[in-house]
């Protein structure tokens, strides 16, 4: 039997190659993600190991009393250094320190203290050296690259007093590429004494120590526990610290690998569909051969095993190629992640473990075998007499099982929609899993229903080409619809990719549209000046300077703060996030939509409240309520005022829970001396360029002032959205490529199957061009079916998602990106034309007489 199988494989090699490619790509993705994950892990471990390198004991403040500092005090460090068991000790500290960029604007950065002892340092210099003097600074290479700074240049940090301090950049250093490389902010390195100038309170996040010769980690810990008398401190061994780091790392594990694995799964499912289709067609075409085998005495089991053995062999070969490809994929991903960070690319690692190899082979073989089981079962049902029959009729019968299909599809779709709604409601990491599962369920429903959909969808889609292109297109539509199962499996592969892309697209676009609309609607200011640093307010003088500009019509400052309305005591429900606005701002620069009451201007002690907050606190227009300010700093109660509700407005995310006039606000929060933001409306006739220049002139003296324009905010959002979509596209692209292989594959096999039919058509007067056109149209129809259904599903799922993401505060604007949808459809058509090129060429090339001779 083995000889027969091998001979069969050789004979069908060409046909199997295309399908093997599909599996190989899927496996490559799985392997790639695994290798990438392992490489990032190894990098991260290296990075973590640096933190724990040479550390024999570590001191932290674990149990600080309320009001107590969570930092290890300099006295403790000094005491530790004095201990005879200690060879060296260092305090590690970091501060958020604003960094002035090239334009003199503050951007948030993290300054880290350089350990004095060589053994305890964690940064590896790349260029130059690490700081040795109080005016020297080193910068993470990524930061230097993004800021366009080179060694020798000046770097300015902003002190707590808002005064700039200048340092000389003496070197760059590298951090290991870890998962956090994607989102960590700019980082610089200073000597501890230089960093101290930026700290409100002295102290260290941790103190690490190296034991003197002959002192064990446990002995050191005991000794230090006696020395460190600061309340709340904990002393652990270096070994325990290492373990702790690894544990923390493990718990935040895998975001990227996790998501990539999800996409690998999609690619594999698509590949499985392609394989399934290939085997189905091959079995259909080999009906006679299989029947002949049965005639000469092969039993059902042997036929079944023969088909499966073929699948195993194919899966193995494909998996091996996929494994090799996967290592390449991982290297590429690492390079692009490195490029994303803007740093010099760290050494690419490709740790291939036995698990990775086994997974690749296992997945490749398993998926292939699973995909081949159904066709193999079908093969066993080929009766020996089929050998005597003429042309095998491979059109599948679907009507028989339609009832079951509809029922199963309905169940799956309901479960999927439920999961999608749930996914939108949940507010943590499981959300993405639940959403992914929901999408998969909906896709399963569509795949189940697929064969029933092909007929009607094909009739609708086929009508237009038939009208435009005549007979060849009509024949193509008939061919696309003649074997619903085959067509369904082919288009399903594409449908899956399109669904995922269009769903992400719809949700992302809707989110952007929602935010855009809010910006336009409620904050129609031309510019909004805010502080680039979370905890520093804008100086009040800035508002006056802006208002004094000729180019500016209004400069309206705002403040925000917490109040508690009476009767709600310590209950969180009684808290209102209050926004204070100046005179004449409401209705011009702040435009909430009024639900009840009048919202013209807010007089003394008048309050406008959002619908949701009104419901929460039970306030309505006309009610007067005693309110008390809650200060963020002292946690104590501030001044009290009786506030009267004059209006209730529709919820809007930018406006907080309630609005009051600026005087009322100051009465409640007199401690606030600066402004949270200043909204600027340009005078009529002032060009955006002139207006911006004028505003910039005034804000130049205030480094923390950041100018946002609505247009820029929107553009920035758009850019982020495009990045996200590009990422998703790149990942789903693979599934789409596999799906297109599937189209080529199906078409090639169909062309072989219909050799005589094509010959007949040619004899009857179909030109070569028309024959090619026929196949192109067939491919386009299959691709369109897949993408149209995918779009419908994707947009549908997107709608469910936006609906469930909508809350009382934000009603998501469901938005379909028509342009991109159009591009997607166009792309599918072009890709289909390309994927039909080979089979079409082949069909058109064969001579009529020769084709007629094939049985």
């Amino acid at each position: 039997m083995l000889a027969t199988i091998l001979a069969g494989l050789r004979a069908r090699a060409a046909r199997l190659v295309l399908s093997s490619l599909a599996i190989a790509l899927g496996v490559a993705f799985v392997t790639g993600t695994q290798v990438l994950g392992a490489a990032l892990d190894a990098n991260a471990r290296d990075g973590l190991a640096r933190h724990a390198r040479n550390v024999d004991a570590r001191i932290t403040v674990d149990a600080a009393e309320p009001g107590q500092s969570t930092l290890v005090s300099p006295e403790t460090l000094a005491a530790v250094r004095r201990a005879p068991e200690v060879a060296a000790a260092d305090g590690r500290a970091y501060r958020e320190v604003p960094l002035l960029d090239g334009a003199g604007k503050a951007v948030p950065a993290v300054a880290v203290a350089l350990e004095t002892d060589q053994r305890l340092r964690t940064a590896d210099p790349v260029q130059g050296h690490l700081p040795t003097g109080p005016t020297e600074i080193a910068m993470q290479d990524r930061t230097a690259a993004t800021r366009g700074l080179t060694v020798g240049q000046q770097v300015t940090l902003l002190g707590t007093d808002d005064q700039p301090r200048t340092f000389t950049l003496v070197g760059t250093y590298q951090q290991a590429l870890t998962r956090s490389s994607l989102y960590t902010s700019d980082q610089v390195l200073l000597l501890p004494e230089a960093l101290a100038a930026f700290a409100d309170q002295p102290g260290f996040t941790e103190v690490v120590a190296v034991a003197a010769a002959g002192v064990s980690q446990e002995q050191l810990v005991r000794a230090l526990s006696a020395v460190a008398t600061q309340p709340g401190v904990a002393v652990t061994t270096g070994a325990a610290y290492t373990q702790q780091l690894l544990d923390t790392f493990g718990s935040q594990a895998g975001q990227i690998t996790y998501i990539l694995t999800g996409f690998a799964l999609v690619a594999l499912v698509v590949a499985a569909l392609v394989i399934y289709n290939t085997f189905t067609i091959l079995v259909a075409q080999r009906t006679r051969e299989l029947a002949l085998l049965r005639c000469v005495g092969a039993d059902r089991g042997q036929v079944f095993r023969a088909v499966l053995a073929e699948a195993v062999a194919m899966g193995l070969v494909a998996a091996l190629f996929g494994l090799g490809g996967g290592v390449g994929v991982s290297a590429l991903l690492q390079l692009s992640l490195g490029a994303f960070g803007g740093a010099a690319v760290p050494a690419v690692r490709t740790p291939v473990s036995l698990t990775t190899v086994l997974t690749a082979l296992g997945v490749g073989v398993l998926v292939t075998v699973l995909a081949a089981v159904l066709p193999a079962r079908r093969a066993t049902r080929v009766p020996p007499v089929a050998a005597m029959r003429g042309q095998p009729d491979s059109s599948g019968e679907v009507a028989r099982t339609s009832g079951w299909r509809v029922a199963a599809a309905l169940l799956l779709a309901l479960a999927g929609a439920g999961a999608l709604v749930l996914g939108g409601r949940i507010n943590n990491e499981t959300s993405i899993t639940v959403t992914g599962a929901g999408t998969m369920l909906v896709l399963c429903a569509a795949v189940t229903l697929g064969p029933l959909l092909v007929g009607p969808v094909n009739r609708v889609l086929g009508a237009l080409p038939a009208l435009l292109l005549g007979v060849p297109a009509k024949l193509a539509a008939a061919n696309a619809g003649r074997n619903p199962r085959r067509t369904a499996a082919t288009m399903a592969a594409l449908m899956i990719g399109v669904t995922v892309v269009s769903m992400v697209n719809v949700v992302a676009t809707s989110a952007k549209a929602t935010v855009d609309a809010e910006i336009d609607q409620q904050l129609p200011a031309d510019y909004t000046i805010t502080s680039s640093l979370y905890d520093r307010a804008l100086p009040t003088a800035l508002a006056d300077q802006l208002a004094a500009l000729d180019e500016v019509a209004t400069a309206a400052p705002t403040r925000t703060g917490d109040i508690r309305v009476d009767g709600a005591a310590e209950n969180a429900a009684g808290h209102l996030w209050l926004m204070g606005v100046g005179d004449g701002v409401i209705g011009t620069l702040v435009r909430p939509e009024t639900a009840t009451g009048q919202l013209g201007s807010l007089g003394p002690d008048e309050l406008a409240i959002s619908e949701q907050a009104a419901k929460r606190t039970g306030l309505a227009v006309g009610s007067t309520v005693p309110a008390v300010a809650v200060s963020t700093e002292s946690q104590g109660d501030g001044p009290r005022r009786d506030l009267r509700v004059v209006a209730v407005y529709r919820d809007a995310s930018g406006l907080g829970d309630a609005l009051v006039g600026m005087d009322t606000f100051t009465g409640l929060h007199p401690e606030q001396t600066g402004y949270d933001s200043i909204m600027v409306k340009l005078a009529d006739g002032v060009s955006p360029q002139a207006g911006r220049a004028a505003v910039e002139r005034v804000t130049a003296a205030t480094p923390i002032a950041r100018i946002d324009s609505a247009a820029e905010t929107k553009a920035e959002l758009g850019g982020q959205l495009d990045q996200l979509l590009a990422f998703v596209w790149a990942l789903v692209g693979l599934a789409v490529v596999i799906a297109l292989f599937g189209i080529t594959n199906t078409l090639t096999l169909s062309v072989l199957e219909r050799t005589r039919e094509s010959a007949l058509l040619r004899a009857l007067g179909l030109t070569r061009g028309q024959l090619r056109l026929m196949l192109v149209v067939e491919a386009v129809l299959m691709a369109l079916m897949g993408s149209v259904l995918g779009l419908v599903l994707g947009i549908g799922c997107g709608w469910v998602m936006t609906e469930s993401l909508s809350s009382a505060q934000t009603q998501m604007l469901f938005t379909v990106p028509y342009g991109q949808t159009g591009v997607l459809l166009l792309g599918a058509v072009v890709a289909a034309v390309l994927s039909s090129a080979l089979p079409a060429r082949r069909a058109a090339r064969s001579s009529v007489v020769a084709a007629m001779a094939t049985a």
């Binding site: 007979v471 008939a478 007949l760 004899a763 009857l764 007067g765 179909l766 030109t767 009529v848 007489v849």
Partner: protein, 250 residues
């Protein structure tokens, strides 16, 4: 170019001169046609007969422009088709030739009616409704027009193929063993129809067959042996054909 006209003054529908067809190269080369000259008058029903492997199908394929020739020429009406490109040949087949094959004549995706009209549709022509009705009724296909080939018997399928071959009123209909797969009754129906189309409608039909009874429906039988012409019989009967074939050693 003057029309090729036979001595009797009837128009010649198809003519082959010194037709040579070689399959393969070198040692394995097979001379399927070794210089065949034969002509077929318009309005005549001709049967081509000969032993298996004698080159009947090859001759028909060359005459119909389905295959290229290695020597000699083929005329359909006034047109020398031996030098036509694929596009012109295709158009010629579409507009001027009808085909009935032994099997697999119909597209499984189309109904009987669509199959019948396929050639006309490809040519972008309208069917002559009266003519279509005549054909359909004569062949007894009225009830079957909306069936697909899989729902038709072998004889019905062949009749649909005949209808398709004739509906466009081609210059010539080529039939390669049209009754090869049919029982004698169904075969007789198909042959009757072909003969009727020749007698009443002046259609030209060239049919390859193995069956002396089928050949007896024709006006003339052309005998082929080893790729060369081996005689002809006019006004054939089953017996005279059988005798001639026996003489050929078939």
């Amino acid at each position: 170019m003057s029309a090729v006209v036979s001595q009797l003054g009837t128009r010649t529908a198809v003519a082959a001169r010194d037709l040579v067809k070689v399959y393969g190269k070198g040692d394995t080369a097979v001379r399927a046609l070794a210089g065949v000259s034969v002509s077929f008058a318009a309005g005549e029903f001709t049967a081509i007969m000969g032993p298996s492997g004698s080159g009947k199908s090859t001759l028909m394929h060359c005459l119909a422009g389905l295959d290229t020739v290695d020597g000699g020429s083929v005329h359909i009406g006034d047109t020398d088709i031996t030098h036509l490109g694929d596009r012109e040949l295709t158009r010629l087949r579409r507009d001027r030739i009808g085909f009935v094959f032994q099997a697999f004549n119909l597209l499984p995706t189309l109904t009987a009616r669509q199959n019948i009209l396929l050639g006309l549709e490809l040519a972008g022509r309208k069917a002559d409704q009266a003519w279509l009705d005549t054909i359909v009724d004569t062949l007894g296909l009225r009830e079957r027009l909306d069936h697909r080939p899989t729902e038709l018997s072998g004889g019905q399928q062949q009749r649909v193929a005949c209808a398709r071959a004739l509906v466009a009123r081609p210059d010539v209909v080529f039939a390669d063993e049209p009754t090869g797969n049919l029982d004698s009754r169904s075969g007789a129906e198909v042959l009757d129809f072909l003969r009727m189309s020749v007698r009443r409608l002046n259609q030209t039909v060239i049919m390859v067959t193995h069956d002396p009874v089928a050949a007896s429906y024709a006006d003339r039988v052309v005998l082929i042996a080893d790729g060369a012409l081996a005689g002809e019989i006019t006004q054939p009967t089953a017996d005279s054909v059988l005798a001639a074939l026996a003489h050929l050693g078939a």
